[in-house]
């Protein structure tokens, strides 16, 4: 029984207007074209693709983070159209309904504010009392398995390691109980062991809070472990979207086959050269 979509992106296009193009060039530059994607409540969707394929731009467009880009199509959030929504509407949605975390936890925290101030910020800006906000901040950090959360509220980001900072960033993103979390390569800057912890926490929160997650990554191993459905982007277009098992079993698009096939395997024949994505694309166009 397919639940109604929480976020429904219809034929989204993102363009750089001619006058904003760095280094000139004629006409608008299209970054994302004709992208349609739905996310249901509590669903974990992965958006994969190579660098420059438009994954991040798509995610940022949902929160309207790049005001200089021209958006076309429709982004429907729970019955409200986000494209063209006024600033105060967006501000109400940001943090409280849709949250986002970034790749590098080392720079995502303000160095001059304490952990507590930053985690509590989404509540403080919405008029929750200081005492209550800090209590909930400690609670949230505790949920995300930050040890000694209460004492740590007074610490500064500089005293935290990368994995701990990413948990703090997540706590700030989740404290106002959003229904969708956009995670833009949240583990790329972390080492593998910490990656696993962060992903575990993410999946756990998604299950417990019925939180939808749009997970942007180029790491297929992460996708296989976390996502329920995978959307593949290539050159600004969505080339394929499937449930995660189907995608790995029967990739439809040559690019997807390339992505999966170009991951080195331990059981591969050492004598055979690893095929690149470009090889697969060539095969795909020949077939």
């Amino acid at each position: 029984m397919p639940a109604p979509a929480l976020l429904s992106i219809e034929r989204l296009t993102v363009r750089v207007p001619e006058k904003e193009r760095i280094g000139g060039g004629d006409g608008d530059l299209t970054l994302v074209e004709d992208l349609t994607l739905q996310i249901r409540a509590g669903e974990r969707v992965a958006l994969v693709g190579e660098s420059g394929s438009g994954k991040s731009i798509t995610a940022r467009a949902i929160l309207r983070l790049d005001p200089h880009l021209t958006l076309g199509g429709s982004i429907d959030w729970d019955g409200r159209e986000l494209i063209g929504a006024p600033h105060h509407v967006l501000r109400g949605i940001r943090g409280a309904e849709i949250s986002m975390i970034f790749q590098d936890p080392m720079t995502a925290l303000n160095p001059v504010l304490t952990i507590g101030e930053q985690v509590a910020e989404p509540l403080l800006v919405r008029g929750v009392s200081k005492k209550e906000a800090y209590r909930r901040a400690a609670e949230m950090l505790d949920r995300l398995r930050v040890p000694k959360a209460k004492e740590r509220l007074r610490a500064y980001p500089g005293q935290f390691s990368g994995g701990m900072r990413q948990r703090v960033v997540m706590a700030a993103a989740l404290i106002a109980q959003p229904r969708l979390l956009i995670a833009d390569e949240p583990t790329t800057a972390l080492d593998v062991r910490v990656q696993e912890q962060v992903l575990d926490i993410l999946e756990e929160q998604s299950r417990e809070l019925n939180l939808a997650v749009l997970f942007i990554t180029h790491d297929l191993a992460i996708v296989a472990g976390l996502a329920q459905s995978v959307a593949v982007m290539f050159r600004g277009r969505l080339v394929e979207q499937q449930p995660v098992d189907d995608l790995f079993a029967h990739p439809q698009h040559p690019y997807t086959r390339g992505l999966i096939g170009s991951v080195p395997r331990l059981d591969a024949d050492p004598g055979v050269r690893l095929k690149t994505v470009a090889d697969y694309l060539k095969e795909g166009s020949a077939a």
Binding site: G95, N110, G163, Q197
Partner: protein, 329 residues
Amino acid sequence: MSAEAEQRIQATAPAAPVVEPVVEPGITVGVAFEPAAPVPTWTAAIGTGIARPIRRVFHRHTPFLDKTAFVLVGLLVLLAIVGLFYRPYDPFNVDTRIALLPPSAAHLLGTDDVGRDVLSRILAGAGLTLLSAAAIVLIAAIIGVLVASVSTLLPRWADEVIMRACDIFMSIPSLVLALGLAAALGPSLTSIIVAMVAASWPSTARLTRGILRETMTTSFVESAQILGVSRVRLMLRHVLPNSLDAIYVQASMEISGTIVMISGLAFLGVGAPPPSPDWGSMIAAGQQYITTAWWISLFPGLAITIGAIAFGLVGDAVRTFVDPASRRS
């Protein structure tokens, strides 16, 4: 086994494991960081950022020149404070019987053309000059930061208009602008301050606006925006506190130039009216006696020079401290 017995065993066990292995996923290996626990001294040298600045300013890491500059500035400030409460003679007392006396034990820096003690006048003028220089730099910085903040938050066209207005202000040589304004407002210390502030805030605004724009693009500012922080709060809590370093540097560098400018304006006669012990007007008063009674102009001139150099060096030291990459070789 009772809890007590367990404790005893733990206490007597010679090689109790200090470092616990991973307890559960999510907790990193090793002893958790305890801010309240005493930190061994060797880590203090690496980690804690509070003890270091003072050491860097006053210990052997500081070049000799910086130390000298700090000492000079300290002396000048001390002089200014002392000058408020004590001068050897009344700096305004006219006594023509002792006019134009060269430096001696009674009058260490001599007397001027109407018999006023030069040292007393320099002391009385020190507070005046330093305070007005500090006031000018502070007020200009506040206005500059305010304009820059507003400009950064406004849409691009408004930002453009404000910045072009600053450019127009900056295209007029600041001494000419200050001179014109001070002359129009009438000779007084207040008019010097107003004129100098008017002449110097646009450059602070330009500089600050550039820094604020840069800080706006950092990841944590964007994160704050995503969490629904309003623009004003974003500026006050996230952008400004992370941009002030460069503003401190700019302000500390500007004090020295401001001292020279104040004195210059006073020299040209737009400062406080005559009996005032302004360093600049003292030089002006002594210039007709320069061949016969050199001490009248020389000592206030030296005071200005030392003040300008000392504050300039301190500004430089502050810059090196804030941004070690700019350290002079």
